[in-house]
């Protein structure tokens, strides 16, 4: 187990922004090299056979390229964002179900992006990662099993032991600012 430092997370942000703004294939290759084997492992741990997982990885990474303009580092870290794409592909390609999604907010990258907001969010995500690793083994395994799709909602514990309040408050603030700007 290793913790992913904020500096590494900010480097991913820069790579994804290069994909988003310059359609930079080299930056895309770097993201691919790091994340593709992890997405594949995640899908296989979720029950997908290796060949299906590999096909799904390609779809996930193609979606990352195509939807890069929706990425906002003040809203999500790169790992969070890739997870949501992988999760949706798992539902679509492997479980073959529809997934109703909430109404999208007109986030998008702001015209005047706040670098410090992006940095703060990456820091919160790093701290969340550390908190997850610091959980007692049994509790951490339960959370992993929930995300690998092994637990139903009624089997998921009401109390995860994770300090979600800080990252939630950060995102809540960003939402309030967005709502304010929309008026």
């Amino acid at each position: 187990m290793t913790t992913t430092e904020t500096s590494t997370r900010m480097a991913w942000v820069a790579q994804l922004e290069a994909v988003r703004d310059q359609r930079d294939q080299r930056a895309f290759g770097e993201i691919f090299q790091y994340f593709a084997p992890r997405v594949k492992s995640f899908l296989m741990k979720s029950g997908a056979p290796a060949d299906v997982a590999e096909e799904c990885v390609q779809e996930v990474m193609a979606t990352l390229w195509n939807k890069a303009q929706l990425f906002d580092p003040a809203k999500a870290s790169v790992s969070t964002w890739i997870f949501t794409i992988a999760r949706n592909k798992r539902i679509d390609l492997i479980r073959k179900q529809r997934r109703p999604e909430p109404e999208d907010l007109p986030w998008g990258p702001e015209s005047d992006p706040e670098q410090e907001d992006a940095l703060a969010l990456q820091q919160e995500t790093e701290q969340l990662g550390r908190a997850l690793q610091a959980l007692p083994e049994k509790q951490r395994k339960l959370i992993e099993r929930a995300y690998f799709g092994e637990l139903s909602h009624s089997e998921i514990a009401a109390e995860t032991g994770l300090p979600l309040g800080t990252i939630k408050s950060r995102i809540r603030l960003a939402l309030e600012r967005l709502r304010h700007n929309m008026k």
Binding site: Q58, E124, A146
Partner: protein
Amino acid sequence: MKKTMSNINHHLTDALLMGYSAGTLPEAFSLVVATHVSLCDECRARLAALDAVGGEVMLDCGQEAVSADCLAATLAMIADGKGREDAPKARRKGALPAPLQDYVGGDLDAIRWRKVGGGVRQMVLRTAGDASVRLLHIPAGQAVPDHGHRGTELTLVLQGAFRDETDRFGVGDVEVADEDLNHKPIAEAGADCICLAATDAPLRFNAFVPRMAQRFIGI
């Protein structure tokens, strides 16, 4: 209906939000979650935090080598224009949140109501999996037949309000009821109540006649 609500008192549970974040909820429950989150920034932020947990689990779950041509195949896929199909759901005009409009096939005026009895009307929405979801229209001041639950039942208020033994539920509020709750929701006087209700087991009405009716109407 306002597009987001700041006066929501009844929210989704962590277990439901985590199930939605993990992508394991039945489709019917996911529709209730997606509709509530469309109205509730508090739950939207909680969901984003849980998505971040998912990202950390993925980062830390090991690596499986991809084949040598995986990147090239992905770039070819991009060049072919694949993977562009799913555009985000923008805010839409109308009273119903966008995810619900997808299932209804339009806004409030597109709902095809069917009589259930006692003045109550419903529209069952088509979803895959074991759970089911329907829109319910309850006339102001009217009770929904007394029923208990075998599984979990989610009821999200879209218009009007209802009360039961536990509390009052207004627009945007979601009631999460498990099998212990044997409740009798009553629509408040004033406006008719429209709810989105999902259950992972057939409801069990406590009176004989509604139980007979239950077989015909599929509640």
